[in-house]
Amino acid sequence: MPKMVIETCSVEWLQILDEDGICDEELRPPLSNEEIKKLFESMVLARTFDEKAFKLQREGRLGTYASIYGQEAAQVGSAFALRPADWMFPAFREPGASFVRGLPIHMILQYWAGDERGSQIPEGLNDFPITIPVATQIPIAVGVALAAKVKGDPIAVMAYMGDGATSKGDFHEGLNFAGVFSAPVVFVCQNNQWAISVPLKRQTAAKTLAQKAFAYGFPGIRVDGNDVFAVYRAASEALNRAKAGKGPTLIECLTYRLGDHTTADDASRYRSREEVEQWKTKDPIRRLKKYMEKRNLWSEAYDQAVRSNAKEKVERAVRVEESLPPPDPRDIFGFTFEELTAELKEQMENFLKVDGKERSESKDVLYG
């Protein structure tokens, strides 16, 4: 057999709810009205939070913050498909997913305000803290999935990443590992088409990111990441596959980062206003709203209520976060190991003694 095709792959695109809110009812996932409302409310909450966090940063009340503006459907739709017992690994731009999971809103503020306690995920919530070093959470997520498989726990893991993350070695090693061991894990790639200032075409010469799954022997799909139904459907199916022992899936959510990379960034340096404006027409919240309106699930009054509810939740979270006592400097040392080592004990004791006296607040200000 001199020359022949021995393997083929194809990448599918999935869109259920288009930019005008027109829905392919055959493909629409079987969600109750209550669930559809929940999706809408979660997206509104995500956006409300995002706007507030941005303002807080500008007012000097928050550190660097990474906006999710425009990516609400990709986050909410995917996280919505998870069960509480499943595990979730955010990258660093997934508050929308974290809130769906039940992470107290103020913890994301706490994290970006520079307080490790924001990563002290509450007991019972199976989420990993935000991971800043791009793609490094992926092998860890695969490890959790394999551990669950070893133990026979009927759960799956969802790991988020950006388009930039697909270039990193750990993306490759993690996905390949998952493929080999058929790990119950779903990789959700939020392809927002930018990695800070680097556009997608500088990230890869591949036409889609979904096709990268083929390299690891499992399916990849590209969905409209601004279509919450498509994202939810793809995520549900992938989670079912995972739990049925059929291995991993890569879901590429094609979306767009409408904001700057972070509050420290100025995207106008490297991309055109037109591009941004064009993507604003694909707004994930508006299109769900249009759909709900047609289905009589949406009204002005409802919208008002949802928005003021979200606002109130966010404002409450801000108050909670801002009223927390400052972290105890002892915590710098206390969690390095289960027990303080002799070195750390000595370092902590020296640190607590200043001029031979116990460190006091007044003395503190001198340091730093």
């Binding site: 070893v150 750990d170 002799a342």
Partner: protein, 325 residues
């Protein structure tokens, strides 16, 4: 009691711990059917099956990353990096996750993981197979580093490392993997991490070392004994945390010290030891602490390897300088 090599002693420790604790599992390249390229995991696949003895793809970063995830989930993974020269690719997982997850999650998650790392020169191995890179890990917060020096030690330290609630790099000195035999009890015993041991008591000088370098150091002590110098030999066992107290106590007694290690001198663990002696026992010192180490160069290929590794003679030379200072 059976006389075992270090390879056999660690194998025994693994087998017994896997029998006792179903959470223990192994992963790495060639750890399964092949029993590891050094045979440390020999026979374990047959006994415990493929879910607990996992041959993995050739992916050092993922081996460590996946093991971190397993540890976070509640298992007790033992990850093998085939040779120390291949651990650099896993540095990001080690520094950014293994060593940080407890502190960054303020205790919500922790990572009871052992990374087995055959290390060091002296076996005429190919290029990149003879590094001694303990200093990188000792400098990395949140990671413990253990280096056994004999078969008996290796079993007790390994069990302690495996039961430790935090990540431990367990560095296995390849040079003495099979060159020593020692009685190793079947029964369980743990050697606590963070405690060094005095291998030889002495009064004139303290020789501080670990791992494979204990042997030339002991030989040096014997040679010195003939010429009337009484050396105290300290085997550190654990490099992170360091047993500063015992070192200082010994130096306060002998007033002189030499540190022996294979790694390059500059920023090696020897530097830290000298710094601590300086900080806590300066007034007791009657001579500079000397370091007998590898050079600040790449470990040579086998034809020049013998020049690189500290030998009993190099230790004796240093001791002579310190004594006659």
């Amino acid at each position: 009691m059976a006389k075992l090599t270090m390879v056999e002693a660690i194998n025994l420790a693994l087998r017994q711990e896997m029998e006792k604790d179903p959470r223990v599992l192994l992963l790495g390249e060639d750890v399964g059917r092949n029993g590891g390229v050094f045979r440390v995991t020999q026979g374990l696949l047959d006994t415990f099956g493929e879910t607990r003895v996992m041959d993995t793809p050739l992916s050092e970063s993922a081996i460590v990353g996946v093991a971190i995830g397993m540890a976070v989930y509640g298992l007790r993974p033992v990850a093998e990096i085939q040779f120390e020269g291949f651990v650099y690719a896993a540095m990001e997982q080690l520094a950014d996750h293994a060593g940080r997850i407890r502190t960054r999650s303020r205790g919500r998650y922790h990572c009871p993981l052992v990374v087995r790392l055959p290390y060091g020169g002296g076996i005429r191995a190919p290029e990149h197979h003879s590094d001694s890179n303990e200093a990188y890990f000792v400098h990395t917060p949140g990671i413990k580093v253990v280096v056994p020096s004999t078969p008996y030690e290796s079993k007790g330290l390994f069990v302690a490392a495996l039961r430790d609630p935090d990540p431990v790099i367990f560095m296995e000195p390849k040079k003495i993997y099979r060159s020593l035999r020692e009685e190793v009890p079947e029964e369980e015993y743990l050697i606590p991490l963070g405690e060094s041991r005095i291998v030889l008591e002495g009064t004139d000088i303290t020789l501080i070392t670990w791992g494979a370098m204990l042997q030339p150091t002991l030989q040096a002590a014997m040679l010195m004994e003939k010429s009337g110098t009484s050396a105290e030999v300290l085997d550190l066992r654990t490099l992170s945390p360091l047993d500063t107290e015992s070192m200082i106590e010994s130096v306060k007694k002998t007033h002189r010290a030499v540190v022996v290690h294979e790694a390059p001198a500059t920023c090696g663990v020897g530097a830290e030891i000298v710094a601590r002696i300086n900080e806590k026992a300066l007034v007791h010192l009657e001579a500079p602490v000397e370091r007998v180490t590898g050079f600040d160069t790449v470990m040579p290929l086998p034809k020049l390897e013998k020049y690189y590794l500290p030998s009993a003679e190099r230790v004796v030379d240093a001791v002579n300088r310190v004594i006659s200072f």
